[in-house]
Symmetry: D2
Subunit: 365 residues, 4 copies
């Protein structure tokens, strides 16, 4: 599975919290190798170990500590960049990179809803990748990853949508602190407290799934016809977004059928055996106290969605609880899986060729 000559990649916004997570997940990756770190002018020119205030529990990857951070300008020695840029600048910077021929896999919100940009969850809509053909960027392109609260929701909804049809979805989230980046939320605002507001979040959860679950027709995404309501809260949890979901289904289904639909669900990443893919995208728990953030967020490399408490509801057909790791599945890990999907589907063959005849000749070993 490990490539002899790994594909060089870069990280935009490498010093931020998402950028760090990219760095962590890409260490020892079988296909990709981080060669370039780029960040704001304040960091450019410094060694990564000096520029980044490392906030993850793991140690900073040794091979990156001594790398000099560059500016976020499209002159990096790689053709694929992962973007953890702040949305205040991501829009322009990512566009500049795409125009210069880079593949930009972005976790930022700026281009998610662009008509020619795939909003990708590889288990759900790998066919949406074709949208990038609409992007006239001389070989470059932008691919995006949904909002951290949306991804888990969309994965949980996908089998229901496919098998029973969805009519309405109601969501109340309890989101982790890491979703706000670093320094993010002040400790005085979260200890012994809940904040019932996250700026801009509810709108994302209410709209992004419509595109993700949408259908590719004539190189255009037709949104599904579905009403979603979202209420978003910040709770005192390090990682792991918990969501209380209610759904109306188009066709009747009993609990057993729904749970089976979740447990049987597999997507392209599982079939293609992508390195970061979870063995199963969804785990259903029978214990009524599960899932819980601290217990289940890291399940299956932090890439799985945990579901529990499916039961009939007074107002909707069913209600249940889902959990997913917001910085892994919901951010850097999800974006990485998008890149792996592209690699698996041959989108990066050009870069492999450029990089090394040997790798192409011998393939994956």
């Amino acid at each position: 599975m490990t490539l002899k000559n790994k594909i060089p990649v870069g990280i935009l916004g490498a010093t931020g919290s998402v950028g760090q997570k990219f760095a962590e997940l890409l260490a020892h990756h079988p296909w990709f190798e981080v060669k370039e770190l780029a960040a704001s002018e304040r960091s450019a020119g410094k060694l990564y170990k000096h520029a980044a205030n490392w906030i993850l529990n793991s140690e900073m990857p040794k091979e990156l500590a001594e790398v000099t951070v560059k500016n976020c300008e499209p002159n990096l020695n790689c053709k694929i960049v992962f973007s953890g840029l702040d949305s205040s600048i991501a829009g322009e910077v990512e566009l500049a990179f795409a125009k210069a021929g880079y593949v930009v896999v972005s976790n930022s919100k700026n281009h998610r809803m662009d008509t020619d940009v795939p909003l990708l969850v590889p288990e759900i809509n790998s066919d949406h990748l074709k949208l990038i053909e609409k992007q006239n960027f001389n070989g470059g392109c932008i691919v995006t990853n949904p909002n951290c609260s949306t991804i888990g929701l969309a994965i949980a909804l996908k089998p229901l949508h496919d098998i029973f049809g969805l009519e309405a979805v109601n969501v109340v989230t309890m989101q982790a602190l890491s979703g706000a980046g670093y320094p993010g939320v002040a400790s005085l605002d979260t200890i012994d407290n809940v904040i019932p507001f996250i700026g801009g979040e509810e709108n994302k959860v209410e709209t992004e799934p419509l595109k993700i679950l949408g259908t590719l027709k004539n190189n255009y995404i037709q949104y599904i016809d579905l009403k979603i309501s979202a209420q978003c809260n910040r709770v005192s949890v390090v990682d792991g977004h918990l969501e209380c979901i209610q759904v109306n289904l188009k066709t009747k289904a009993d609990e057993k059928e729904i749970i089976e639909a979740w447990r049987n669900f597999l997507g392209e990443p599982q079939k293609m055996n992508l390195p970061t893919a979870p063995l199963r995208p969804i785990y259903y728990f029978d214990e009524e106290k599960y899932p819980q953030p601290r217990i289940h967020r890291s399940l299956d490399k932090g890439m799985a969605v945990s579901i529990g408490r499916l039961r009939k509801d007074n107002l909707f057909d069913y209600k249940f609880v889902i959990l997913s790791h917001n910085t892994v599945r919901g951010a850097a890990g999800g974006a990485l899986l998008c890149a792996e999907l592209m690699k698996g589907k041959g989108y990066f063959d050009q870069f492999l060729k450029e990089k090394s005849k040997e790798a192409v000749n011998h393939g994956i070993n």
Copy 2:
């Protein structure tokens, strides 16, 4: 407002967390004076300071520390008892007290839904008190206080129900640790975590408001016709239940009208100026990040309901957030207000007479 000869009262389950809160709130009460403390056999015979593992932030009231705890048997020297008994025994013990002629004001769930027992929120349904005439207990009676998550919800719904009519109510709660008593939830289950399950809670929230908002007809409570769905979660907060609410109204209303309905709402306790009544039952906050548990739970003596974030919803007419103090408004304080309502309406005149001619002659000074 202070009675010269206060009415002696007792606390059943005095060593538990609700019992302690009763003891705290009744210290320096202008009308009531705690004369009797009763608890389980394990505590009986001990001084209160030795029997109770005091868990509140305040200090144990000095005048109670040296009181000897008695058994929960109906031979206490008082005619009114507040019950914070565990539901495993509250049913029988409260009945025994009522049959022996005691007024039992209970925070336990056991008798809440009995057809002849008022489920009282004084701001909402003070007329339900008449139900106790159906209780044939030789002068004794049982009056109950709703579940801690129900009370705030019911108060927030009352003005909407009265003015616009309610068709559907959806609730997702984020409940405080103190709601589980002491020792209650293990610290390892709540640090960096949320528990998406509270045994029996959802059913209470879905049914109790139907009775509370119901109509007294022919000495019988006709439940309102309303569908409520509840999902209950335990979060790492000391006190204060936060709830995300969605409602469908029977008649059209704009945001301004709804907020006005809340801000103008006053109940019997406000009109009668009861000692524990909040100045206003409901406070609406315009800041979109409010209400928050640590900031607003103690508002107006912990007896007010804080509301915020009213906004249009994709699936229901409106959504908003409410907060109320679960051990004050939602438990001991709410029950105390029930007793004050009874006193204010003359139900305790008999005990005043028995207790002291002087007090009756001179009235409240």
Copy 3:
């Protein structure tokens, strides 16, 4: 006790966390009335309710919400100012105010160790106030309040110093989040964590007590001869600094004598019955699990020091645990007590005269 014509005062740094605490504690103060709020240029010109991101649990005092915040320039309509200024500017601004004839009661560190500035804990060294005669400021002066970790320590040490003599003091603190101001510590740094470092803090705890416990001789403070070692940690607590203390005493003392020394300790504020003075500066708890931050920080208006667990030590004579509220006793409340001491000792008579003949004629009513 309430003055008919209260003394007008101002708050410098009114929008910060210490400034807000000043505003909260001065609301309804019997002697002082906040007339002026001053802060940085960013806030100047705005109403206080718009300029300050109110972070306290109480509501912003209504009478201040509509006050327009001014610049920190010495042209305020009052003669006494409380300073909660950031240390980056406090040094110069406070000096400017003093030179312009203002009495500056400061919680900032800048002038604490100046030879002509009292570092005041009213229970300990009220005589140090005389130092201000050395300040040649045309009637103005600077009086300072110690560091939040120092105050509780100094109060606990004072009776030991007076009765038994101190030879060595070892301190390890576990300090609350509010000590770092707002936004202060990031939530991701404190949840499920302890930070074993607080910049500059250890030095303050090791030196300030030497001056506070020092002796006024010839209008000069002679520091006591004492070695103090401090290690400072930040823990996940809202308010209340807990400290593990070890001491060597000059003369033998048994536990009973030490506890008695603490329990009997009274200072000038108690004798003068100052409004913000605690009834007793020190409370000793016999329960071995006490004191605890959430339980005891607000004891006696948050102005008392709680002590517990006195026991013999293997390396020092004794060890024990102390707790004090860092934003009340350790900051705004402590500074307010300094001002009350000055008022009680007649230092503000001039301002009273200026303000109102009536008040002087009738005195305190």
Copy 4:
């Protein structure tokens, strides 16, 4: 490194928190294989998945979920047992197993200070293992693991003791919640709080290192001559005990020499390359804000001790901060390392022989 025929082992107290940690760490162990789970009568006869309320973040090892839990009686099909028994019964049960010929590797306190029982930290005192020859148990024996706060401390002290000599050690701990087992500390006692008391803990920290660092002479441990003082606090942290340490050394040393002593320190487990041994027992951090529990507790499999903030002290020669994972290095992981040491030194050869000729013939592959 993986044995073809692993050595069967059992876990006593398998359903408790330490027992679960043993089960987690022994899953996929290259040498040992859990064959027997034993617990109290309440659990005996049930499947492990039903008997144990699994509290770890990992999932229960699948191969154990279906194992039937047995009583803690010495008729288990294995010769080596790891004991996570509660101290109320560990004394007798462990003795019974030893007398019946079992090797008992215990994390319980009961036999730690017995003169013929090694109190083992493999990096420090592997020679103490010889003590078990004094135990006349027909081939059985008891080996113990120190208290969770002691281990990190002892490892940090060992190089200082060897190179510079120790004269005095002062310790203040901030200990994690998991140290109290499950349910352990109530959430209401730890949220927004610190508990400055842990029953029995201070005594263990003050005495156990004297034995661990002691010298084996004539098959007897001569304690080192050292005064230790300990103060123990419980903080709101899941895992990881942080300790503020002060030391007096017998010979002069500068910071550089001390840090070098720590960084160069290696013990038997490193030299023998034991499976659970950390690469290095001690990591020293130059950043003054490190070590921190959430960041560093899992360093090097949770088996390393993290040290930081070495600096000169006013009362002692030096002060510094240490951190170690209390349930891994400080409990189950530490005990497992003891068993690996015994295996490495040939103590289990007899069991290998009994178990499998093949394994002996082919050795470790």
